[in-house]
Amino acid sequence: MSMKDVVKEIEGKVVEFGGVVETITDTAVFVEIPKERVKEFAKWLYNAGAFLKTCAGVDERSINSRFAVYHIFGLDEKGIDVVLRISSLEGEALPSIANEVPAAEWCELEARDMLGLHILGHESKPRLVLPQDWPNAVYPLRKDVPYDYRPPSSVENFGKELPSEVGLPVGPYHPILHEPEYFELYVEGERVVDVFYRGFHVHRGIEKLAESPRFTYKTIPFLAERICGICGFVHSSCYVLTVERAAKIEVPERAQFIRSIVLEIERIHSHLLWLGVAAHILGYDAGFMHIWRIREPIMVLAELLTGSRKTYGINIVGGVRRDIDESKKKKALDVLRNVREEFKRFVEVFTSVPEIMKRATGTGVLPKDDARALSVVGPTARGSGLRRDVRKDYPYFAYRLASFKVPVYSEGDNLARLLVRVDEVFESISIVEQLLDALPRGSIAVESYEIPSFRKAVGAVEAPRGEDVHFIITGHGRPYRWRVRAPTYQNIPALKIMLRNTPLADAFLTIASIDPCFSCTDRAVVIRDVRSGFRRFASLFEGRRYANK
């Protein structure tokens, strides 16, 4: 079926459900459906093979006096996004599609928390994103809330939503969690039977900040890069891709190549880092040290090509700021050749350590059906038999010119996810080599561009952890609304399934197996008061004794 036929079929269905097609672009169809029929339409899309990428709540009162929710679906096999808009006046209820599409649960709760939307079915659920001491009726993503608003902290509100029964607390600070996050594992002996999760501890208000007068289209790439300390370039790339799509900016081919090269270098370093962490979790510290030694030349290579080991800062709307010359190209190819050889030797040793194989095999299983329902992404999806990779499904930058395989394993266990990452390192090295060899001549950025207001676009980039999605509604000088959905956001809900019936010892490998990046996931709002955080933490640790003191 051609792209035209797909779009035609969607148009037909939209009309059938009483909706309208707002815009059609090369990569997305924007539609509006009456809220009464949105569940049926979402179900049809889901059954047609679409994955829910995310949803975004938007305060559009200054445009049309309404609040809107944009559900972003991706038809991976067709390579097109369907952006489904529903809207309501303030105080009116909006339907939830979480029963039809389970992956919608989190983003709907986030829209409820951040915009105060009344989404049916979510009324009694605890806060997902906002901290417990955030005041009621203050919704940070509403346009009338200043970006620098700081609410007074109320210690009394802490602890109310926690279950009365205490399981095994993992977090907010735990050796396995390199960022603050809270899991409570309920165990029978050494087997996990249930999990309670509370995240979003490190909100930084980035989406809101980008809408503030302090930022412009030109400076936001540097803000976006600070969403994550490991895959920051993915976020700046995804942001510029989305803005360029919204404004229809033609980026020079050489810049597209450079972006793809740097993205793959970022993937290599991220996967090598993760393999080290996995080895450490499994008590194989020799593997941990050696893989980080192998990773070091990749960091040096990143510095050679971009000027920084991390947070490269070379992305700008319309191109890149730094070129790759012949001498750098030659050095890069030498480094990659050595890394490939060393990594090959490492993998042979690593996969021959009996404890590694025994502990990774058959643990943390995520069945394919659950992976599909939750729309998991990246190695988590590919380890469960889903062939999802944005680089193939929605080719962007220079990926359509590179030849590479998408590694897929059907077992769904920790070993499958580990092997996906191992294979991807080899594929990424190959991609960088191909792109360096074929690097075209020409400029690296457009000279000028204009970004019209109230254009909408969706951009997706394949991060090391999976699909990173950005949604933008353009505004005057800066986005009217910028929504960031990091891959970990999509993968965390799957942990509940993966952790059940897992041996406790392997629960930590299972959590790590999605390569969680909480910094990416959390993004927004407030830093919790340290003292109140400690009081809550202590209470979970048999803290009556401490509390009395």
């Binding site: 009996p354 404890e355 010892a505």
Partner: protein, 290 residues
């Protein structure tokens, strides 16, 4: 032997155990492509520096009982090592062997008591793990050690007994893959989670001494296997062999990952039972021959 020499020999383990640990760390670092403790002095004394630093920290007690058990653990492991040194000087005294085995089991029991006495979910899990591992090997270890030290057996039985003792010494030294009771990334150091400052230093020192005891026992049994134990020269060789045994155990641990609690102890138990079965078969064979 004069009192000065006796005092020197019994003092050796208390001084050198942290030094051997420092050397192990340096060797491990080299294998792992790290630098490890920096400089010549630190290569030998880093664990001493760590202990001194921990002792200088503030004392935070979660319970007085906990502190008492920790001190008693150090006391009993110290008595064990003193008896071991006396045994090295006078291997012909059988009551010393009986005492050694008794105090080995008492110090092991105190290690378990410390683990279960902590009121913390992580340490409870760690304590159960320590129980599983100890139960899988302790009985086999003590009985094989007693037979080896008290009876003269044919070489085939000696070899099997040595295998049991060697495997037990490795397991009880708490190295990877059998460090599941602390398993830092999984259960946040498990049995050590509530220990800090001087209390953690005391526990660490106990562990160093315990590792010394196990390394020296393994060295002695090796000499016994090749038939040169029981002389003054053999005692000297044992003392010189102990750091090598310690480092070898450390190097083995670098090559392995941590086992799973539902796999490791059961596998250990199976291996032990197979070794015991082979020993019985060998004994029947030997008896029939006689």
């Amino acid at each position: 032997m004069d009192y000065t020499s006796l005092a020197l020999i019994t003092a050796i383990p208390f001084l050198v155990a942290p030094i051997y640990d420092s050397i192990e760390r340096k060797v491990k670092a080299a294998i792992q492509s790290r630098i490890g403790p920096l400089g010549l002095a630190r290569s030998f004394l880093q664990s001493w520096f760590d202990l001194i630093k921990l002792f200088s920290k503030e004392l935070v007690l979660t319970s007085y009982g906990m502190a008492l058990i920790t001190i008693l653990e150090l006391l009993f492991v110290s008595i064990t090592v003193v008896i071991l040194q006396i045994f090295l000087i006078t291997p012909q005294l059988q009551w010393v062997i009986a005492l050694l085995i008794t105090f080995l089991s008492i110090s092991s029991a105190f290690s378990l008591i410390r683990a279960i006495s902590l009121d913390n979910p992580f340490s409870s899990i760690g304590a159960f793990r320590e129980f599983y591992v100890t139960l899988a090997v302790e009985g086999f270890f003590l009985s094989s050690l007693a037979i080896m030290l008290l009876v003269e057996e044919p070489i085939i039985i000696k070899m099997l007994l040595f295998c049991i003792a060697a495997l037990s010494c490795y397991v009880l030294s708490g190295r990877t893959p059998f460090d599941i009771a602390e398993a830092e990334p999984e259960i946040a150091s498990g049995v050590y989670i509530e220990l800090s400052g001087p209390l953690l230093a005391t526990t660490s020192y106990s562990l160093h001494i315990r590792r010394y005891v196990l390394a020296e026992i393994l060295s002695y049994t090796l000499l016994k296997l090749i038939g040169i134990a029981g002389t003054g020269f053999a005692s000297l060789i044992t003392l010189l062999l102990t750091p090598i045994t310690w480092i070898v155990l450390g190097v083995v641990s670098v090559m392995l990952g941590r086992t799973r609690v539902d796999v490791g102890p059961i596998t250990l138990l199976k291996v032990m039972l197979i070794l015991v079965f082979l020993m019985f078969v060998a004994m029947i064979f030997v008896v029939r021959l006689v």
